[in-house]
């Protein structure tokens, strides 16, 4: 079974530039998550989708970050404009179904390492 795919794996940009990350979840997974992992910290949830709807985006800095999952499959996360403190690994994860009545394991992708200079 193919895992969660992410691209690019690495990205270096200058501050105030924009950047986009792409995620393709495991086939059939309705729930998709974007996490930010700053060096020395654990992953922090930015946004959570169920199909194409947002379930939780309470920790997404909405003045500069946006995310979409238009067809309920793959997703993009965008930062515009980027700041130095956005340097981090951006992880995508997916799980079967948020509302299935039982916990479904989250499967993580390899992440995109962003460096903002």
């Amino acid at each position: 079974e193919a895992g969660v795919a992410q691209s690019p794996r690495y990205k270096i940009i200058e501050k105030r530039q924009s950047v986009a990350f792409w995620c393709n979840p495991i086939s059939g997974h309705a729930t998709l998550y974007w996490y930010q992992q700053i060096l020395g910290q654990g992953p922090k949830l930015l946004i959570q989708f169920q199909n194409n709807g947002v379930v939780d985006d309470s920790q997404l800095p909405k003045d500069r970050f946006s995310a979409e999952r238009l067809k309920g499959v793959d997703s993009t996360l965008k930062i515009q404009p980027a700041k130095l403190e956005d340097s981090a690994v951006y992880l995508c994860a997916s799980s079967l179904d948020l509302f299935s009545g039982s916990y479904n394991e989250q499967f993580f992708g390899p992440g995109t390492r962003l460096t903002v200079l």
Partner: protein, 112 residues
């Protein structure tokens, strides 16, 4: 607010030594706890989880964790580590809608 504390940021052990990594959580709801592992160059993956029942949970690769409600702890243990256990270990608690809150992680280095 929900939080997870992992007090050991770096641990260095020799092969065959016993391992215990600390995890304390702060969450007022029903507690579901997890340990995730990230081996060098690999994805985060689930090591074990506690939902209910027996507070001693066994996971993959010989790891286990014990949920102690009175201490708000969920420490990870392994009786004898191997070089291949070198990795970063994250404790996490599930809050609403399957959202996970992670600790800061512990980097384990096992020397052969």
């Amino acid at each position: 607010a929900q939080s997870v504390s992992q007090h050991n940021h770096h641990v260095i052990l020799s092969e065959a030594a016993s391992l215990e990594l600390g995890c304390n959580y702060s969450y007022g709801g029903t507690v579901n706890l997890f340990w995730y592992v990230q081996y060098p160059g690999q994805h985060l993956q689930l090591l074990l989880k506690y939902f209910s029942g027996d507070p001693l949970v066994k996971g993959i690769k010989g790891f286990e964790a014990e949920f102690i409600k009175s201490k708000f702890s969920f420490n990870l243990r392994k009786p004898s580590v191997q070089w291949s256990d070198t990795a970063e270990y994250f404790c996490a608690v599930k809050v609403s809608f399957q959202k996970l809150v992670f600790g800061t992680g512990t980097r384990l280095l096992v020397s052969p």
